[in-house]
Each structure stands twice: as C-alpha cells, then as structure tokens.
C-alpha cells in the first residue's frame, strides 16, 4: 500500500519519506540559530533593561535597589553625557564626510581604463581588513610629534596630533578615513560600473559638459548605493570604541562608547551604564530609521 502511494508522489516527498521530512529538516536547520541569537543577543538586552532601573554596582556585593527612572532622568540631565554625544556627532560627520570624499573620488578615478585595476583595488582594501586596535597603536607611532613619519613627510616639525585637545579628534578621524575610505570606494565602484554606458554616449552626442554629465547622470544613479555606504559607515562610526580608546585619552575624544565603557568597567556604575546603553540603543535605531526613509526616497527618484 505504502509503495503505491509513494510512486504517485513527486520526487521531494518520496525522498522525504526515506529520511527526515522537509519540515523537520527546515526546523533543525533554522531553529538552533534563532535560539542561539535570542539567548546571546536579545536575552542580555532584556537582562540589562532590568538593571537599568536599579543602582546596581557589579564591583560590590550589595543588592541592587530599584530606583525607577532615576538613572535615565539623571543621564538625560547630565551635560557631560550630552557633550559625549556632541563629540560623537562631530566625529561621525568628519570621518564619514572624509570617507565619502576620498572613497568616491578614488572610485571615480579607478572607473577609467586603469592598468592593474584589480591589483590596485585589492591593495587599497588592506587597511579595512586590519584590527582597529592594532591600527590605532601603529598610527600612534606615525603621529609621534618628535619622530613620527607623518610630521616628517608633511614638514610639520613637532606638531602635536594626539596630545593637542583641539586636534586629537581629527587625528582619530584621519585614521578612520584611512581605514574605511576603501569600503566607500568599493561600493561606489560597484555602483559606477552599473551605470549604463549608453547614457554617457547620449550625453557625449548632446555635447554635455563633464559637470552636467556628473550631476545629471553619474551622481543620481550612484546615489542609492553611496547612501548605503554612508548608512553603514555612520552606524560604525557612531559605535567607535577601539580606535579612539587606543589612540588618545583626551576628554575631547571621549566618544559615547568610551564614556559607556568607563562608566561600566572603571567606575562600576553598572545600573547607570545599562540605562545609558539603552539611550544609545534608541539613538542607533532612530538614526537607522531616518536613513532608511531617506534611502527609499533616493531610490524612488
């Protein structure tokens, strides 16, 4: 009886009746991953949401007291925290702008008939494959005021990059631009190579100038993918920790992740730092949402 039924079915369910069913294979393949991510990503966040309403300190054995919204209220009224956010915003703007200019510019150059294009692109990728902490460390050597190669190459004498409070944030941003411009370049190259050639030919027949061609053809068609690069880099720059932490210890470079780290693991204000983590989290989500809306607008055009 069973064999008769089997031959009348399609190949998939015949195979399924020999081994596990497709549904159990699907569940076996997907459910462990989902559970793993819930346990190690979502559960910790719920756990810390609980702590964010307490005065818990992980360094002492004292019991955590429920303090309600006090942590949040104090943090939002703390001018130092807002200055940390302002520093972060400044850092994000400087470094992402720099990366877009350098990365997109390099992509425009590479989008011509360049010999060894593949090799050059690979070589340019190297910085973004490296560890930010270790990169920060060796840029410290490059920035050194008395024997650093940067001051020597630019003829700056003993210019202070990292110990000068006004300059330190830009120094960190320059290193970040060095590391991540290749990423913007890579995405821009993908976008540029997707622009149909006949549009340029039509523009050439119409005797359109290079500016007209750039602003009316190249830029609008590359905009969506460039926007993705900007979203990515903004999110990453907002999260910056390693690079700034290793390179300098100026109060003017204390981005929000460093503040958070210090609050949690040096001052041991665990409950408060959990609350700050939530404020940061909400900001990340808000920024993402604004960007995604803007991205959809760019795509519609």
């Amino acid at each position: 009886m069973a064999t008769v039924v089997m031959t009348s079915l399609d190949a998939k369910s015949r195979a399924a009746s020999r081994g596990m069913s497709d549904i159990s294979i699907r569940n076996l393949f997907i459910i462990p991953t989902i559970l793993f991510l819930i346990v190690f990503n979502i559960f910790p966040l719920i756990y810390s949401l609980g702590y964010s309403f307490t005065d818990f300190r992980a360094s002492s054995n004292a019991r955590a007291n429920f303090v309600g919204l006090q942590n949040y209220r104090e943090l939002l009224n703390d001018t130092f925290i807002w200055s940390n956010f302002a520093i972060t915003a400044k850092y994000v703007i400087v470094s992402v702008t720099g990366q877009v200019i350098v990365g997109f510019g390099t992509a425009m150059l590479l989008n011509r008939d360049i010999p060894l294009k593949g090799l050059l692109t690979t070589l340019l990728l190297l910085p973004m494959m490296l560890s930010m902490a270790v990169v920060g460390l060796f840029w410290k050597l490059l920035y050194d005021p008395s024997f650093g190669i940067i001051n020597y190459a630019l003829g700056l004498g003993s210019f202070e990059w990292l110990s000068n409070p006004d300059m330190a944030l830009y120094a960190v941003a320059i290193t970040d631009i060095w590391m991540w411009s290749p990423f913007v370049m890579l995405l821009s190259l993908a976008g540029l190579s997707a622009v149909p050639k006949h549009l340029y030919e039509a523009a050439a027949i119409d005797r359109a100038g290079p500016f007209y061609t750039f602003f009316r053809i190249t830029l609008p068609l590359v905009a969506p993918i460039l926007m993705i690069a900007i979203i990515f880099r903004t999110m990453e720059a907002f999260k910056t920790f390693d690079l700034a932490y290793i390179l300098t210890s100026q109060p003017t470079t204390e981005v929000i992740s460093i503040r958070l780290y210090k609050m949690a693991f040096q001052e041991w204000q665990t409950g408060r730092s959990c609350a700050l983590a939530y404020i940061v989290l909400i900001m990340v989500l808000a920024i993402t949402n604004i960007y995604v809306k803007y991205l959809n607008k760019v795509k519609e055009r």
Binding site: G19, F29, I34, R112, D113, T122, L123, F183, M235, K239
Partner: protein
C-alpha cells in the same frame, strides 16, 4: 571610456592613473612603515630623519618571543662573549633574557596570546559558518513563515554597539563562570558573526539551481544526503569567502576581548597595546608583534581577493 579617445581624454587618463598610484602608495605607506620598523635595530626606529635604508634584523622578533628584564649595567665582556648570538642582540638593547631555574629561556606573553587568538578565531569561525550554512539553506529552500522578519531579526543582532551588549554579557558570564575563558569569547564571536554568515551564505545558496538537488532526490538520495553531497560542494567557494570574513572579524575584535578576558584567555588585540607601557616603548618589538598579527589577514586578503570584492559589496548591498 569611448572607443576612440581624443588627445585630451588620453591626457586625462594619464592624470587619473598617476593619481590612483599616488593614492595607493599613501594608503600602503603606514603598513610599509610598521613592517619595516619590525626589522629595524632599536636605535634606528625613532630617528629623525626617518631611516629608510638599513640592514634588516630579527632582534625585534627575538625580543618579542622572550621574557626580558633590564640589565643593571652593561654586560661584562665575558658575559657578552659567552652568550649565543640571539642573546647578544638583546644585550645590545640594554636588556637580558630571563631564564627559569633550569636555564631554559622563558617565553614572553606574546606566543600565548597569539595562540589564544588562533583558538578563538578559528573555533568561532567554524561554528558561525557551519550554523550559518545550515540556516541559510533552510531559508533558501523551504518556506518559512515570516521569513523577511526573521532574516531582519538575524541581521539586527549585528547593529548593536559591542559595548552595549558587553555589559550584560559580562554580568551573565560572571554568574556562569565564562569570564576569561576561550569558550566565553568563542560564543560571543559566533553570535556576532552568525548574522553575517547567514546573509552571505543565503546569497551563495540562492544561486545554486534547485534542480541539482531535485535530480539527486530522484536518484534516491535523502534530503540530507543531497545537502551534503550536492549543495555543500557547490557552495564551497562561498563557504570559504564567508569563513575568511568571519575569521577576520573574530581575529581583529577588541572591545569584548578587553572586557571579558584578562590573563588566561586574552587575545592579541588587547595584549599588544598593553605592552606600550608608560616609559620609552620599544617600538621595534611592538612593530614585530603587530606585523605577525597582521600577516594572516594580509595573506587571506590576497589569496581570496576576488571573493572578498564580491562578498563585501554583496553583503553590504543586501543589507
């Protein structure tokens, strides 16, 4: 770009080539500088003007791998003559190699941290890519309710700043005793890389025609056999590319390693900066440690350059 180039276009192209070459050189200069510093004698590392031509030495690497202490005074001529060549190089730096009671040379902390990095990065890569491949196949071949939402959930786990996740993880790990253990870091890095691995592998598996497995099912394979014998070999290059991405992320990670480990399981990224110290750092030794640490990633980048280009833009565009 046009088939027939005018003279001005050719001139423009030459300018572009020159500009690209200059940009590439500027981008590679810091990496060249750290590499060359790793082979310099100590006294040439911090000279002005910077030393470009020098006789390469391996003394920074000898110092990197051995435990050293400062000499009280200069070594006596007898001491100097009796020492093997590698110890002489260290004497020249005003330091001596520390020995155990049996006269064995004591290794520095670096080999240990490097091994920790290897253990943690390789294990977490295998786990993330393994789980990611299964899950990607599940999403690619079967109907899943709320597939888009689940995939977005998987991706969203990567948007969080590491420090935000690190605080509760630190507290949880303290309760279960996973702080400062290899498994603690392995689990974190696996969770971190899993989202990326699922997304990238789904792209690769989507491109393998379903007909291949259906043909195998007709030939009497079970679904599992078809997956292991048909899909996995077809997806091999994709798996390799994903593995390199996961390896590089785990290899380079700093924030979790700084917070979750301190002695036993510490990896190289928090260890190398901690060696700078407060006095006059020996930059040649730091450069040697950095150079060795960057080497695996540089080799991978070069070997897998074509996959990297694809995987990079691919992953980013899908996201």
């Amino acid at each position: 770009m046009a088939a027939v180039q005018t003279r001005s276009e050719r001139a423009l192209n030459r300018v572009a080539i020159a500009a690209v070459l200059v940009i590439t050189l500027i981008f590679l200069a810091p990496i060249y500088w750290i590499t060359s510093t790793a082979f310099k004698p100590r006294n040439l590392a911090t000279t002005i003007p910077p030393t470009v031509l020098f006789e390469p030495e391996i003394s920074p690497f000898v110092k990197l791998f051995t435990k050293r202490s400062q000499l009280r005074g200069a070594p006596t001529p007898e001491e100097y003559a009796a020492a093997p060549w590698w110890e002489r190089m260290v004497f020249d730096g005003g330091e001596k190699i520390v020995r155990s009671g049996r006269g064995e040379i004591q290794p520095s902390g670096y080999p240990n941290r490097f091994m920790n990095s290897l253990i943690v990065a390789i294990t977490s890569t295998v786990l993330a890519v393994g789980m990611g491949t299964f899950t990607a196949y599940g999403f690619s071949r079967f109907k899943v309710k709320g597939e888009a939402d689940l995939l977005f959930f998987i991706l969203s786990t990567r948007m969080l700043p590491p420090v935000v996740v690190a605080i509760p993880m630190f507290l949880m790990y303290r309760v279960v005793g996973l702080n400062d253990t290899h498994w603690g870091l392995i689990i974190l890095y696996t969770a971190f890389n899993l989202s990326f691995s699922v997304w990238l592998m789904k792209g690769f598996i989507d491109e393998i025609p379903k007909e291949y497995e259906e043909a195998a099912l007709v030939d009497g394979y079970t679904r599992m056999q078809a997956f292991f014998k048909i899909v996995i070999p077809e997806a091999a290059t994709g798996i390799a590319a994903t593995a390199v991405f996961c390896f590089i992320t785990a290899w380079n990670e700093y924030a979790f390693a700084l917070i979750m480990t301190n002695r036993r399981a510490q990896t190289a990224p928090p260890f190398i900066p901690s060696q700078v110290g407060s006095g006059l750092p020996d930059w040649t030794v730091i450069a040697a440690g950095t150079f060795l640490f960057l080497l695996p990633v540089a080799i991978f980048t070069f070997l897998l350059r074509n996959h990297l280009l694809r995987g990079m833009s691919f992953g980013a565009i899908r996201k």
